[in-house]
């Protein structure tokens, strides 16, 4: 009987996930390269999580999310974070209308399906907190009323990794709220050549609208149904626990490099993201490959490094590699 359920689920996912290929195709029309970024955007979208992007300027971060919004026919807003930004500039405020002689609500740019929080670390903590609270609660309170944010709601925040002066780095607890942290790299040589050609010819393909936001909401419910075996759950817990107690996994050598391990949110996010990845790969069940595929994006911002690790130029990616190479695959 259970066997039939999985078969049914597989068939359902085969049917429901067909749009993933269409989205990828449309995205690839506009964005050259950055396949990893596109895939992570889809994972975030399907797993109901938010993304923190780190990369140099000009790597098609804004273009990627705005194209995704175009494909889904969703509302997209971009907020440029600056030191003088106020929380009300993001969530909205009450404005006195002389015509009606009463206060009326002016909703902020956060009321959109896709929000790009550009250079989130340029604004002080109170502004960051306003956005992060909206991300967590998926609702905003203005005056006496609480307003639900539209569905789907995806925030993609960017950080510039090189400029540190005049920035307000996100606290660890706030970083934990992002499901994925994606490092955006430069395009390959061939890809960059293709970008130049496109600009020289002034040919900028447009993505077609092929989906409605409701389709994404429906797909999310299917992603939740993707089967995750107990062995996979144990594998996820082992990976997360290895960041907290490396000794227990024969990783005593990295013990002094980890200041704090990943939180339970990491386990939840790893499970959700692995399910979304399985869905993208058009499978109705999660296999260890899915966990490994999203492991770096989910965990890299959730592990604290010690001064010793920083002095030796050891990154969280190095530690995750050590962990996945030692934790037995079920």
């Amino acid at each position: 009987m259970e066997n039939v359920n999985i078969k049914e689920l597989n068939d359902r996912i085969q049917k429901e996930s067909a749009f993933v290929d269409i989205i990828s195709m449309e995205m690839n029309k506009v964005i050259v390269g950055q396949k990893h970024l596109v895939e992570d955007l889809l994972i975030g979208l399907l797993a109901d999580g938010h993304l923190l992007l780190e990369g140099m300027p000009g790597l098609a971060k804004t273009l990627a999310i705005s194209t995704l919004a175009d494909i889904i026919d969703a509302k997209f807003n971009r907020i440029q974070f600056t030191p003088d930004l106020l929380p009300s500039d993001i969530v909205g405020t009450m404005i006195y209308s002389q015509k009606n002689e009463q206060f009326q609500v002016k909703q902020g740019p956060v009321f959109a399906n896709f929000v790009l929080a550009d250079e989130i670390n340029r604004s002080p903590a109170k502004v960051q907190s306003a956005l992060l609270e909206a991300m967590q609660e998926r609702a905003v309170t203005i005056g006496d009323n609480t307003y639900a944010l539209p569905k789907p709601f995806l925030v993609m925040a960017t950080q510039n990794p090189i400029e540190q002066e005049g920035t307000y780095p996100l606290p660890e607890a706030q970083m934990d709220r992002f499901m994925l942290k994606v490092i955006v790299n430069y395009p390959k040589k061939d890809e960059e050549k293709q970008i130049i050609k496109m600009h020289n010819a002034q040919e900028f393909p447009k993505a077609s609208t092929v989906l409605k936001p409701e389709d994404i909401v429906r797909a999310r419910s299917v992603v939740k149904d993707v089967y995750m075996d107990e062995k996979i759950e144990r594998y996820i817990v082992d990976i997360v626990y290895a960041t907290r107690t490396p000794d227990e996994y024969g990783l005593g050598k990295i013990k002094n490099l980890i200041q704090y391990g990943a939180s339970p949110r990491a386990s939840i996010s790893l499970a959700k993201a692995a399910k979304a990845y399985a869905f993208i790969k058009r499978r109705g069940y999660v296999i260890p490959e899915d966990v490994r595929a999203v492991c770096y994006e989910v965990m890299r911002h959730r592990i604290g490094l010690t001064y010793e690790a920083e002095a030796e130029n050891i990154t969280t990616e190095n530690l995750i590699t050590e962990i996945v190479n030692i934790v037995p695959v079920p």
């Binding site: 259970e2 066997n3 359920n5 999985i6 597989n10 089967y227 075996d229 062995k231 996979i232 109705g284 069940y285 999660v286 296999i287 260890p288 490959e289 490994r292 996945v324 190479n325 030692i326 934790v327 037995p328 695959v329 079920p330």
Partner: protein, 315 residues
Amino acid sequence: MAFLVMLSTTVFAQKVPKSYLTKDSVLIGDQVAWITEFTFPEGVDLKAIPYKQTLAADTTLRGAAIEVVKDLQIDSVSLKNGQRELRAKMMLSAFDSGSFHLPAPVILYSIEGMADTLSIDPQDLYVNTIQIDTASFKPYEIKAQEKYPITVGEVLPWVLLALAVALIIWAICRYISMKRKNKNFFGKSVQVEPPHITALKKLEKLRLEKIWKVGKEKQYYTGITDALRNYIESRYGFGAMEKTSSEIMDSLKDKKLDEKIFNDLDEMFARADLVKFAKYTPSEQDNENAIPVAVNFVNFAYMQQLEEAKKEEVK
């Protein structure tokens, strides 16, 4: 008049002090005790004047080096019938030779508010010096510091400690050396089962148990894949236990496996993943075939290993 009579009666009721030097003649630097014994009724206050003061006040000695080693002290010896027997003692020494007339020590007493000095006789002390015959005198060499021989008790703990450390180092070295030669500590050969035999034994056990027939397909396929992963790890030297099925197959791509064996193995791993992670129930035929596929792979990989070893020998 009556008072004077009473006072003189009281004073003269005491015995005459007995005072003497323990030796009347000493060598230069030697010590001599001056003891004075006397009796007083109980309750009489006594005070001894330090002999150093007495010596300093004396004009007859004229700076002779009489040293007070231990100054005058009065002690009670006994108490009988209300009379105290007392003893005053001091130690003297001299660093000048000659004959010295030592002044009497001063002991004050007071009875019923009247104070007086105890009458003690002065003493004569003769201080001799050592006569050196300067014609025959020959000074001795200064003796070097005595060197005592080292005892066995002192050395034994260190010798034992050194032996123990040497023994431990030797035991560790021997253990490592024997381990490398596949021998135990005492040099006997240890039979290490070759990895292909271990894998084949496990697979044969799974084949005979047929646990898939009682609905334990998950355990069945987990057993097969674990046996294969352990074998691959030993045979090819990469951590197959920490790799996913597709990663293992990727790593085996360049191992020159027979195409059919590779494809069958790939299919079997994929099916095992379905059983393990997707509640898939394979057909009876698939279950029966899983073990031969695994055995074929192990046999092929072992034969390949033997051929490689032969080629190495020829080289």
